[in-house]
């Protein structure tokens, strides 16, 4: 994989944008999760309205081989509906918090989607043939009396227009008292974990009426609660290992072989706080919003409010790499606390070779860091720069008094436009960036 910064080797270009252009964004259309499948052929998005939209990568055109294929809508379905908890008199939002694909094992595709309370396993399959020639019904459609059927006719499969069907195969419900923030498929392809604010459960994909609680940090006295679980993920290769992050900026790695209940961690990752940068908001900005293992399984990455950190699993006392996402916001924390932006949960992702990482920011900016060259770049997902194959221009935020041309000052940033969800193709340099209700797809320019 080439480097990500601007230069001779690599340039990010606009490819596509999905979603409405209207200025008035419907709440239900706000994208809440983005995920490529294992091959990168499919790209799934979930939104606040409980819908899942799957895009499929079309093969490159033979006539125009210099163009990568595009992602077109493959399937759309309503995954979750709003529900009402009668016991607590609370409405359960249909917002899709996470989508995770299962490795493909046959012609069909499977994914897990979850809202705050319920996880569902969806099967997405294609149907391009239809059985015809039944003699079980009359021509008007009425079912014939069996006694009137005197001959056996085998139906014939006839081609039909491709139809993509999504059907719920499993519903995993009633296992979470608190809001589910993470799901992660295990490397054994048989189990997966789901995490809410205080507990993590382990499921078998075939069994819906039972789950095993493996982490429980709920104190006996809820008034003593000072820390919640913010994210969890299974190790990509070791099916007995998983990690979970907390609102206090810590990560715990647990080994399910040690005990049935993994309240005692195997490893504890925490970076000592820098006393010189301590503020009233130190704890809030240290809260980890996302944790992702590298594809290699050797590293993991965490995202807190201002930075992204790469940890070596063999070293617990500090990260091996720290990347500042938007350090210019540090002096604005008070305002960001007032307007609640400080509680925004940004995600992060690795590229296929683990040589680069990406995360979002405000003003529809997103940042990429090349771990090898240590170069970084800020790009913007905007309609203005959405010309086909147009190269994205690097953006810069001016922090000093003097603002250069093409720079934007911190005070001019639009904090309503936040890029919380991004995804990187597992093999190619194609990225998907969710900007409120729009999905941008960028790719490198093929030379």
């Amino acid at each position: 994989m080439a480097g990500v910064a601007g230069g001779n080797d690599f340039q990010w270009c606009f490819s596509q944008v999905k979603g409405a252009i209207d200025e008035d964004v419907a709440e239900a259309d706000i994208i809440s999760t983005v995920e490529f499948n294992y091959s990168g052929e499919l790209l799934a998005t979930g939104d606040k309205g409980g819908r899942v939209v799957i895009f499929q990568h079309e093969q490159e055109s033979k006539n125009r081989p210099h163009l990568r294929g595009e992602y077109n809508v493959y399937s759309t379905f309503q995954s979750h509906e709003p529900e009402f908890d009668y016991l607590k008199s609370l409405e359960i939002e249909e917002k899709i918090n996470k989508i995770r694909w299962l490795p493909q094992q046959n012609a069909a595709h499977f994914l897990l989607s979850t809202n705050d309370k319920t996880i569902k396993l969806w099967k997405i399959s294609e149907r391009d043939k239809r059985a015809e020639g039944y003699n079980l019904k009359d021509e008007d459609g009425r079912v014939r009396d069996p006694f009137r059927i005197t001959s056996l006719r085998v139906p014939v499969l006839m081609p039909m227009d491709l139809m993509v069907e999504a059907s719920p195969r499993r519903i995993f419900a009633n296992a979470h008292t608190y809001h589910i923030n993470s799901i992660s498929v295990n490397s054994d392809h048989e189990t997966y974990l789901s995490a809410d604010d205080l507990r993590i459960n382990l499921w078998h994909l075939e069994i819906t009426d039972r789950s095993f609680n493996i982490v429980d940090i709920k104190p006996a006295n809820m008034e003593e609660l000072t820390e919640v679980i913010t994210a969890a993920e299974c190790h990509p290769h070791q099916c007995n290992v998983f990690v979970y992050s907390s609102s206090k900026g810590t990560i715990r790695l647990c080994d399910m072989r040690e005990a049935a209940l993994c309240d005692r961690h195997s490893k504890f990752f925490e970076e000592p706080e820098d006393p010189s940068s301590r503020s009233f908001f130190s704890e809030i900005i240290s809260s980890i919003s996302d944790v992702k293992f590298s594809h290699s399984g050797r590293y993991m990455m965490t995202r807190d409010y201002l930075s992204v950190k790469v940890w070596d699993l063999n070293m617990e006392n500090r990260p091996v790499e720290t990347y500042q996402v938007h350090e210019y916001l540090r002096s604005k924390l008070c305002s960001l606390y007032e307007n609640d932006c400080i509680f925004d949960k940004f995600e992060c992702c690795w590229n296929g070779s683990d040589s680069a990482i990406m995360t979002g920011s405000y003003n529809n900016f997103f940042r990429m860091f090349d771990r090898n060259t240590r170069r970084d770049i800020t790009l913007e997902a905007s309609r203005e720069s959405s010309k086909p194959r147009a190269t994205l221009k690097p953006r810069k935020v001016s922090t000093g008094g003097k603002r250069k041309k093409d720079e934007i000052s911190v005070d001019s940033l639009d904090f309503n436009k936040k890029i919380l969800h991004t995804a990187w193709h597992p093999k190619d340099n194609v990225i998907a960036v969710a900007a409120t209700n729009n999905l941008y797809i960028f790719q490198d320019k093929i030379n």
Partner: protein
């Protein structure tokens, strides 16, 4: 939230953090504290507040109250009510005149002055600082560092006025003869009609110490965080007005 096209103005608070202990730091602390309290109250009004957000705000509140109590006392002689500007500011829209009939303001001031006098009466050997409303909560024993002390179900008290109980005990003098919790023990706990859910009160009634823990510095009804609202506990509320009468009578 910042509206599209609208430039944000640099608020005064966006300053580099002043040295701890200085007046600028103190005003920042008070401002953030009041904002945090307001946030927490508003989140509790939601049908289902975000637990992560509530925990983070609660921890911030706790941290600031701890840091505030570490500050040297401003005036050790006269227990004056706390200054109105920083401590009592919650929203720009709210009435900042602390002498108004706003029950929150006068209540917190009254509690502060009463408790300060009480401290000096109990043990004159210790220099009594003009305790801010926060300090009353901070000095409670059993306030765990990891959690927030909450009113717990306790024994129902007798319907005896504060004044009757307090004075005879105060005359005895000497430390330990009278404790704050004793004074509140006999407050008519039938004043507690309903729990707001935030407090996590059980079916019983609070003890005096627990009651004192509950008394919030700024808020009208709800104050420090409790996450028992996520537990299916019955709700009882606290009639501050009635308590106010009893306290003021002393």
């Amino acid at each position: 939230m910042i509206l599209k096209g609208q430039k944000r103005k640099l608020p005064q608070e966006d300053l580099e953090l002043a040295d701890s202990g200085g007046p600028v730091w103190e005003s920042q602390r008070q401002f953030v504290f009041s904002v945090s309290l307001n946030k927490y109250q508003r989140s509790q009004e939601l049908p289902e507040p975000s637990l992560r957000r509530s925990v983070l705000i609660a921890n911030t509140l706790r941290q600031m109250s701890l840091e505030g109590c570490r500050e040297p006392p401003a005036d050790m002689e006269v227990p004056e009510p706390p200054p109105p500007a920083g401590l009592l500011h919650r929203d720009v829209e709210e009435d900042e005149d602390w002498e108004s009939t706003d029950s929150d303001v006068s209540l917190s001031a009254a509690i502060s002055s009463i408790l300060t006098v009480l401290d000096s009466t109990i043990d004159g050997s210790f220099p009594t600082a003009p305790r801010s409303p926060l300090r009353s909560l901070e000095n409670l024993s059993g306030s765990s560092e990891g959690g927030v002390a909450w009113v717990k179900p306790g024994v129902r008290g007798h319907s005896v006025s504060y004044q009757q109980q307090a004075e005879p005990k105060a005359r005895d003098g000497g430390p330990g003869d009278v404790t704050v919790e004793d004074l509140f023990q006999d407050i008519d706990t039938c004043l507690l009609e309903r729990d707001m859910g935030v407090l996590g009160l059980g079916g019983g009634h609070p003890t005096g110490e627990d009651l004192l823990r509950y008394l919030p510095p700024f808020s009208n009804l709800k104050c420090l965080p409790s996450f028992s609202s996520f537990s299916p506990l019955p709700a009882e509320a606290f009639e501050l007005d009635n308590l106010m009468e009893i306290l003021v009578e002393s």
